[in-house]
């Protein structure tokens, strides 16, 4: 497949995530839209990791070019898992204090 198709697919997923963050007020949905954006980027990184493979394998058979991109994706997943655990703990705490997960109530975080 041409790399263009993957770029536009990841772009569509990313922009749906951005629109979701801007249009929803539920904190959990906003969090899920951020996960969606992270996954769009992951998909694009994996597609890019396979982009130069054909040229590289013609020069040196058995090449491992593109390994770095896949490891970046792995580390993005690691950081996302840590982020989700802390973020959901914050949302639960906020719900316990305000009995709502509307982000407009976040301006009373002080009390």
């Amino acid at each position: 497949m041409p790399i263009n198709y993957y770029i536009f697919l990841a772009l569509a997923l990313f922009c749906i995530g951005v629109a979701g963050v801007l249009t929803r007020r539920n904190a959990i949905i906003i969090f899920m839209c951020i996960e969606l954006m992270l996954n769009a980027v992951n998909l694009l990184l994996v597609a890019f990791s396979k982009m130069h493979y054909a040229a590289a394998v013609a020069n040196a058979p058995g090449t491992i070019v593109g390994t770095d991109a896949q490891l970046f994706v792995f580390f993005i997943m690691v950081v996302a898992a840590a982020e989700v655990s802390v973020g959901l703990a914050i949302i639960v705490m906020m719900y316990r204090n305000t009995h709502s997960i509307d982000i407009n109530f976040l301006n009373r975080l002080k009390h």
Binding site: C15, A19, E35, L36, V46, K50, Y53, M77, A89, M93
Partner: protein, 165 residues
């Protein structure tokens, strides 16, 4: 059109439709279930690209662990469609327009990007043998640091989630 292309289009349509349903559905539980569909479609893309390690990690970590965490939190809060906070209509329209403008700018900037071919279904860089060697040679320090990150995230989640003060 060969089988790979047909699978690519089916998975892309599934991913985009499910992503739209994540944003559009009123019930948060339905949003989580649609997001799991998106993750399955993206995992299918990883299989098409022969990134087998990332396929299985994506399924276990994202669809398995993170989404179950989201579901548990939603069930803990007893949310449903009636308690769902709604933005006013014009703010929603403005949000969609802003997202659409971002997409327009990106498409205009990237539409002339190269038509290089992506290698589908072959190559061994996505296999666990190669990734494991690279992870424990060049990337061993970031790998160990990520364990510290997890420890701090765990401590942070427990401290934040603790009842009382």
């Amino acid at each position: 059109m060969n089988v790979t292309e047909i699978l690519f289009w089916i998975l892309s349509a599934l991913a985009i439709a499910s992503a739209l349903m994540v944003v559009l559905s009123k019930n948060p539980v339905h949003s989580v279930l649609w997001l799991i569909m998106v993750f399955f479609a993206i995992s299918g893309h990883y299989i098409l690209l022969n990134a087998q390690f990332l396929f299985i990690v994506n399924l276990i970590v994202y669809a398995g662990a993170i989404m179950v965490l989201f579901l548990f939190v939603i069930m803990l809060m007893n949310l449903n469609t009636d308690t769902e906070p709604q933005k006013n209509k014009w703010l929603k329209v403005a949000g969609v327009v802003a997202g659409g403008c971002l997409m327009l700018v990106f498409v205009a900037a990237l539409k002339s990007s190269g038509t290089q071919q992506v290698q589908m279904g072959e190559g061994n860089i996505g296999l666990i043998e190669n990734l494991g060697k690279a992870l424990f040679n060049e990337y061993v320090l970031p790998f160990e640091i990520s364990s510290v990150l997890f420890l701090s995230a765990m401590v942070g989640a427990v401290v934040i989630g603790k009842k009382g003060d």
